[in-house]
C-alpha cells in the first residue's frame, strides 16, 4: 500500500503529471474574480471566503479524471484488482495521493491568495483550518466520481456533472465555518459538520467506489 502511494505520488509529480496545475488554476480563478466584480476592497473582503472555497473546489475537480484514467488505460488497474490488497484500500490510497498533490498544496497556498482578495485579518487561521478539514472530503468524493466514470471514453464532463452536486454539503459547511470564523461568531457547529462529512465520506465511499471500479472492470 505504501509502495502504491509512493508510485502515485511519483507519477503525479513527474513532468506532465499535472502537479501544480490545480494550484495554477486556483491562482488564476482568484485573480480573475476582482476583474469580474471590481477592485473595491470591501466587496472583495466580503466575498473572499466563498471565492476561495469555490476556487479550491474547482481546482480539486480539475485533476479528478486522472485518478484512475491512466491506470485504466495501461492496465495497471486490472493488476491492482488482482493484487492482494483489497480494492477499497486501493481507492483510499488513490484518494490520499490525490489529496496530497492537490488538497494540501491548495490549503497551503490559500492564505497567499487570501491576501490578494483582501481577506480580513484573523481569517487566515480559519481558512487553513476549514480547507484542511474539507479538502480530504473533496478528494474522496471525487475519487468516487472518478471510479464511476473510469470506463467511459469522454468521462471528464460527466464526472463534473456527477461530482459537483455531491460537493454541495462540504462547500456549504466549509464556507459557512470560514465566514462565521471571520465574523468572530461561534462556528463550532459547521466545523464539526464539516469534519463529520469528511470522516463519514472516508468511512463509506471507499466501498461504493470499489464496487464501481469492479463493475467497470468486468
Amino acid at each position: 500500500m505504501i509502495a502504491l502511494l509512493i508510485r502515485d505520488l511519483r507519477q503525479a509529480t513527474r513532468a506532465g503529471g499535472g502537479f501544480g496545475l490545480a494550484l495554477a488554476f486556483f491562482l488564476i480563478v482568484t485573480v480573475l474574480v476582482p476583474f469580474g466584480v471590481g477592485p473595491e476592497s470591501a466587496v472583495l473582503a466580503r466575498i473572499a471566503p466563498g471565492v476561495l472555497w469555490v476556487g479550491a473546489l474547482l481546482a480539486c475537480l480539475l485533476s479528478l479524471d486522472r485518478i484512475f484514467a491512466l491506470d485504466f488505460e495501461d492496465g495497471s488497474l486490472d493488476l491492482l484488482a488482482t493484487a492482494p490488497i483489497p480494492m477499497e484500500a486501493v481507492v483510499v490510497i488513490k484518494a490520499l495521493a490525490h489529496w496530497l498533490v492537490t488538497g494540501v498544496p491548495l490549503t497551503l497556498a490559500a492564505p497567499a491568495l487570501g491576501v490578494l482578495l483582501n481577506l480580513p485579518q484573523g481569517g487566515y487561521g480559519w481558512l487553513v483550518l476549514t480547507l484542511a478539514l474539507g479538502t480530504p472530503a473533496l478528494s474522496m468524493i471525487g475519487t468516487f466520481g472518478a471510479a464511476l466514470t473510469v470506463g467511459l471514453k469522454r468521462g471528464g464532463l460527466l464526472l463534473s456533472l456527477l461530482v459537483l452536486p455531491l460537493y454541495v454539503p462540504t462547500l456549504i459547511f466549509g464556507a459557512e465555518a470560514l465566514t462565521r470564523g471571520l465574523a468572530s461568531l461561534d462556528n463550532a457547529t459547521p466545523l464539526l459538520m464539516l469534519a463529520g462529512i469528511t470522516f463519514g465520506v472516508i468511512a463509506i465511499l471507499p466501498f461504493a467506489a470499489a464496487a464501481a471500479i469492479r463493475i467497470n472492470l468486468r
Binding site: 468516487f144 464511476l148 466514470t149 468521462g155 454541495v168 454539503p169 456549504i172 459547511f173 461504493a208 464496487a211
Partner: protein, 242 residues
Amino acid sequence: MSLWEYANPKKFMQTSQVLLPYFAVLAAVCLVIGLVWGFFFTTDDYRQGATVKIIYLHVPAAMMAINAWVMMLITSLVWLVRRHHVSALAAKAAAPIGLVMTLIALITGAVWGQPMWGTWWVWDPRLTSFLILFLFYLGYIALWEAVENPDTAADLTSILCLVGSVFALLSRYAVNFWNQGLHQGASLSLDEETNVHNEYYLPLLFCIAGFVLLFVALVLLRTRTEIRSRRIQAIMARERLG
C-alpha cells in the same frame, strides 16, 4: 403469489398491459376533477387572489419529484440485491419523469413567487434543495446515457442513486443550516399543508392522487418501452450473429 413474480419481464408485460389503461384513465379522471374544481369552483384567496390556484400543480409536482427519487432508490436497491432487470429499467424509466416533476415544481414556484414575493427566485432552503435535486436527476440520467453496456449502466447508476440519496438528504439539511445562518428567511416558505383551508384542500387531494396515478402510469409505460427496446436489441444482436 408473490411480488417477485413481476420481476419476470413476460409476467410484468402481461400484468402492466392490463393495469396501464386503468391507471391512465383514473389519473385523467382525478386530474380533471381536481384541476377543474380547483381552478374554477374555488374562491380566490383574500390575499393571494387567483395565484393561489398554482398550488394544484405546484404541490403535487413537488411531492412526486421527491417520491420519484425514493422509488428509484428502492428499485435500484432491488436491482443490486436481486438482479431483476425490470427493477433497473423501472428506475431508468422514472428518472426523466422525476426530472420533469422537479422542473414543474421549480417553474410553477417561480411563477407563484413572482407576484407573491416579488421575485422569481430566492435562495430559500426549499427552493435551493429542489435545484440540487434537479442536478442529481441530471447527473443520474447523464450516467445512464453515457454507459453503453446496459448491465454496467444499471449497476453504476444504482450506486450513484444510493450515494446520491445520502448526499441529497445531507444537502437538504446543509442548505437549511446555510440560509438560516445567514438571514432569517423562513417567513418566505409558506407551510401550505397545515394552513390550507378545506375549500382548497379537497381539490388538492384529487390533484395529488391524479399526479400519483399519472406517475405510476408513465412509469409503467416507459418501463414497457424499455423492455421492448431491450428485446429489439437482443433480436438484432441475434440476427447479426446468425
